[in-house]
Amino acid sequence: MPYEPVIGLEVHAQLLTETKIFCSCSTQFGAEPNSHTCPVCMGMPGVLPVLNRKVVEYTMKMALATHCRINEACNFARKNYFYPDLPKGYQISQYAQPLSEHGYVDIELDGGKKRIGITRIHMEEDAGKLLHDEHLPSSYVDLNRTGVPLIEIVSEPDMRSTDEAVAYLKRLHEILVYLEICDGNMEEGSFRCDANVSLRPRGEMMFGTRTELKNMNSFRNVQRALDYEIKRQQYILESGQDVIQETRLWDDSKGETQSMRGKEEAHDYRYFPDPDLVPIVIDNAWTEEMKKSLPELPLEKRERFIRDYQIPPYDAGVLTSSRALAGYFEEVARLSGKPKIASNWVMGDVLRFLNEEKRDIKECPVLPGSLAEMIQLIEDGTISGKMAKDIIVEMYRTGKSPQAVIEEKGMIQITDEGTLEKTVAEVIAANPTQLAQYRGGKEKLFGYFVGQVMKATQGKANPQLINELLKEMLAKE
């Protein structure tokens, strides 16, 4: 029987605020353990949490960017459970009244677009970090992360394949990073994902029993874990057994999901409104203010690039993969007036250099103005495209302008017909054998002559001019 997977995702994104959600401790990653702690985030008796306004605003931005409705009023609730990374014995989260609900994002697939529903986006605090001793029966607790603001983005069970799930995740990731409210670093845990997966016979309306997958800390692991889990459930169903509803952990090294039995006690979080925090009321003016602060979002930008710059969708996708890269490209396009050529240089050489050194576009030594200038130099014939390939290497290495590189290397293109004619004549004279063969019908040798002229001029000759002159002079008896 053909089965259809049904996938829903819960994403936790750490917000890029300076301070924690309910206290003024720093959120900086990588500090000495337990150095960013205070009585509030350590859950001392008698302390009072006070909400960071920026957390509300960042959550509103994400809600607006994903077409969610922002609730007029919302509040915080306590989610009660015991774990050593949670000093208060409860996590402050949102439950019955989240900040926002009922949104969507559109994902692009080979077969077109698909809309994935977002159930809700709410604010909550992160827990601390645990390290387990390999030899002693001890665990070590670092509370620096306790109280770092998170948003939880819950999707509808709208995805029907691993590819759709990964496309959705990438879309959320891209929006969060574009909004500059999350750094998106999956390895450091700034962007985490849990998945709910079930299978049902194709055509069936009812959902099957689902499992929840955790511990997937890269897009690739999400893909692998989902693929594995879908196969596992299919095998169970095909052999006539029932899937057990449980939480399963992805084991990257073994490449499989494993049951979390043992820790799998029935949870009873006993949510109730947190009496330490007052309700949040969001009026239209505030929402409008946040709306105005939104940047152009990746999908809109992509469509605009395709439309306005006449570049292929793939190129537009690469160039809009980050706001900084898109900005860089637009600057080069604007200054050079040649968007298509600008796109080729940015996509080709600039990105290749950066990727080789794993550098970000923000650190690119070739400034947009320099690249635009180089493109103009090619356009007006001062340098050839081939020379430019060498010049840009130098520009990247030294951070110098194309003019400076050209002057240093004496790389002005030879466009003077008289000078070039002389060189062409010399090359022809020096290669009588090839000349005879060429005239005897071996036309492929034309390329050989071009190469010889280029060599003689150290690549500085205008290729078009060489072609014209060679054609003319080779034909002459």
Partner: protein, 104 residues
């Protein structure tokens, strides 16, 4: 899951006390369990009086004081010194709190 109200006259049964005790990771003797069952029943009966108030047109509220939108600015203040943070810990090791091993 959770505590379902049962129509037994009693608000809370011994099983519910045991359940809540387990959630709170507390261990009670049989005598304590009966004592807490009866005490919790007394408390809930007393609070039950609130149900006599007519709240037909009153919106449920999550806070007793009519305050809303209390915020802080996002600016960093000093945290506790590291030694002070750990000073109440029953056990510490290096910069960490130390607890009995919990396996994921």
């Amino acid at each position: 899951m959770g505590i379902e109200k049962q129509d037994t006259g009693l608000k809370i049964t011994k099983e519910e006390v045991e359940y809540v005790a387990h959630l709170a990771r507390l261990d009670f003797s049989e005598a304590e369990k009966s004592k807490f069952t009866s005490q919790l029943n007394d408390i809930l009966m007393y609070v039950e009086k609130l149900n006599q108030v007519d709240t037909t047109n009153v919106e449920p509220m999550s806070h007793a004081i009519a305050l809303q939108n209390v915020f802080r600015d996002d600016s960093v203040h000093d945290s506790l010194s590291h030694d002070l943070s750990l000073s109440n810990a029953p056990e510490a090791r290096g910069p960490f709190f130390r607890v009995p091993k919990v396996i994921e």
